[in-house]
Amino acid sequence: MSPNNVPEILRSKGISAETVEALSSFKNEPGWLTEKRLEAWDFFEKIPMPTLRDEAWRYTDISDVRVEELAPYAPSPDATSEKDLPEAVQTLIKEGEENSALLVQHNSETALVRVAEELSRKGVVFTDLHTALKEHEGLIKEKLFGLVPMDYDKFAALNAAVNSGGSFLYVPRGVEVDVPIQSYYWLDVVGSIMPRTLVVLDEGASVTYIDEYASAYHEEPALSNGAVELYVGQGAHLRYVSLQNWERNVLHFNTIRSSTGKDATINSLVVSLGSQLSRTNVEAGLVAEGSDSEMLGMYFADSDQLLDHHTLQDHISSNAHSDLLYKGALRDESLAVFSGLIRVEPGAQKTDAYQTNRNLILGTDEAMAVSLPNLEIMADDVKCSHGSTTGQVDDVELFYLMSRGIPRKEAEKLVVFGFFGEVTSRVPFKGLKHKLDRAIEGKIGLGFEERVA
């Protein structure tokens, strides 16, 4: 799609009902979707922007976010092969996990989709949402907005109204995909992107899917506002990774919701490293017996970053299991918020649910970690526990390591790697693990040493 074809109104600042219609018609969408988008826009306009007075936004000040000053759509140059992609994206791909299918979204548009022939033969569908609509309209109509509905919150409404690009992954019954499938979202202009991920796994299917977000730095603020819907069918197994590593001018909002069928398993890993402000909602709906959700999270905040995670383990059915572990490190003047809820609905007997949040503060009194674990239990035969700790790197622990000849900085690195190891050791991907290790190393970087000393 060359930039010239993009209607002027989509590239101009501000969003209105006309923008929403123009986008839908530009993408040749069916009428029902245009209607949905308009309905979502209407809802967006009706509800106020959340403020610090709202319980769910008590620590996350978004009064600076000016949606009306952003263009809803940013075109990108065409790419016919990986060689045409920006060099930075080629590096991301090279350093990323080995993949059997790849999608690159450059700004608001899909730059590249590649799917291994073997996957297509088995009926696996992987492409952007616009393309997918042409051949799988029925399935998309049934599932889209089912888990992240427009009335979820203000940002979900905005995404429902003006999402573009995005990805659609469908794995048919019984198909097991061994090599991960990967999407990269690359932003190199000032503006906004509104990606939407829809993953549908049929009965007994299994796959690993990774969404990774990265950008080129700009002075002006940019916005990424995503929604991720993950349907895991009966006995199916999904590993989902979200890796957010935006430059510091980006504001990141994302809602990831899953539903797991009977005996289905989802393992999610949400990593937040970049952006100025990042708010991610991660919700697992355990809707059928025997379903299992492992929720891992990792964040590392520095300078004046704000990284906010809200999680929900929603036990709707009986005999389901969920285990959440979110670990974060903080330095400088950063703020991290973790708010987690285990909700056991009436009748969800034999629920087994755990939630742990741990924060490690590195050599500063200025950083703050807010940890709000919560339980809401409406059944009587359940096993639930939650815990939260926040602490400094222990100077006696450092002394112990240093007394063995390990220099202070190396010792700190060991402690931090050890701290995150509890999460990374549960991630069975070499490439991803390596990427995370390097990101942590970069974050520890210079400056920390002097602060601790």
Binding site: D395, F399, S403, R404, G405, P407
Partner: protein, 250 residues
């Protein structure tokens, strides 16, 4: 090799070490015995550079260098080692990973993974440790005996010139004590010195000291040969208090 002169140490404004002097020569094993609260552990921690103690007076030199000018890791590189009474737990860091980092730091050269593996296997065998032990997180969930063995394993891996052993014998059964003693005796030679800090004479049956010092109220009140330890065992610390207690009041 190690020279302590008129050392005074405080923690939170309380003076714990009150003018202690001691000289340890090359190849010598010294035992420092004393009742609880006499300042034995403070001495060992301060020699290694524990962050919570403050040295208010005196000097300590090791191999001719002022140790208070050195960070703990620099003291280790110079050849000092402390076997901790209460080693820290470091979650997520395996014993193998920790030892690899430590050995490479102290040697200031990288051993190949194979050399490192062989070295570790050899030393673990001496300490009668299961190879699986190396994969466990450092001191996390270790029993008291495992922690002590792990300290001696680290000593064997790092090959220090001087080992300070802070009550390494406490809480060990006789079998574990013998294993620990074997580790120390393994190191014994003209280039290895040790300061054994202990409450009991028991460990000295397995590691024979050249000199025995008795510590009371932050000072060394008497010194002698290994027979002094036996006398102490026989007469108890009350005898020390009666004999030397008044001398410590100044």
């Amino acid at each position: 090799m190690l020279k302590i002169e008129n050392l005074h140490v405080e923690i939170d404004g309380n003076e714990i070490i009150k003018g202690l002097s001691l000289e340890v020569g090359e190849g010598e094993i010294h035992a420092i015995m004393g009742p609880n609260g006499s300042g034995k552990s403070t001495l060992s921690n301060v020699l290694m550079g524990h962050p919570r103690y403050e040295v208010t007076e005196g000097t300590v030199t090791f191999m001719g260098q002022d140790v208070f000018e050195l960070e703990p890791d620099e003291r280790a590189k110079l050849g000092m080692f402390l076997a901790f009474q209460y080693p820290s737990e470091v979650p997520g860091v395996s014993v193998a990973n920790f030892l690899r980092t430590a050995v490479n730091s102290v040697r200031e050269e990288e051993l190949s993974p194979m050399e490192m593996y062989r070295l570790l296997q050899e030393k673990m065998q001496i300490m009668q440790m299961d190879p699986k032990f190396a994969e466990r997180y450092l001191n996390e969930g270790f029993s008291g005996g495992e922690k002590k063995r792990n300290e001696i394993l680290q000593m064997l891996m790092l090959q220090p010139k001087l080992a300070i052993m802070d009550e390494t014998d406490s809480g060990l059964d006789i079998d574990a004590l013998q294993v620990v003693a074997r580790g120390v005796n393994e190191m014994r030679g003209p280039e290895f010195s040790a300061v054994l800090i202990t409450h009991y004479q028991r460990i000295l049956r397995y590691i024979e000291p050249d000199h025995v010092h008795v510590m009371l109220d932050g000072r060394i009140v008497t010194s002698g040969s290994k027979e002094l330890a036996e006398e102490l065992e026989e007469k108890g610390y009350d005898w020390v208090r009666q004999e030397f207690g008044s001398a410590t009041k100044s």
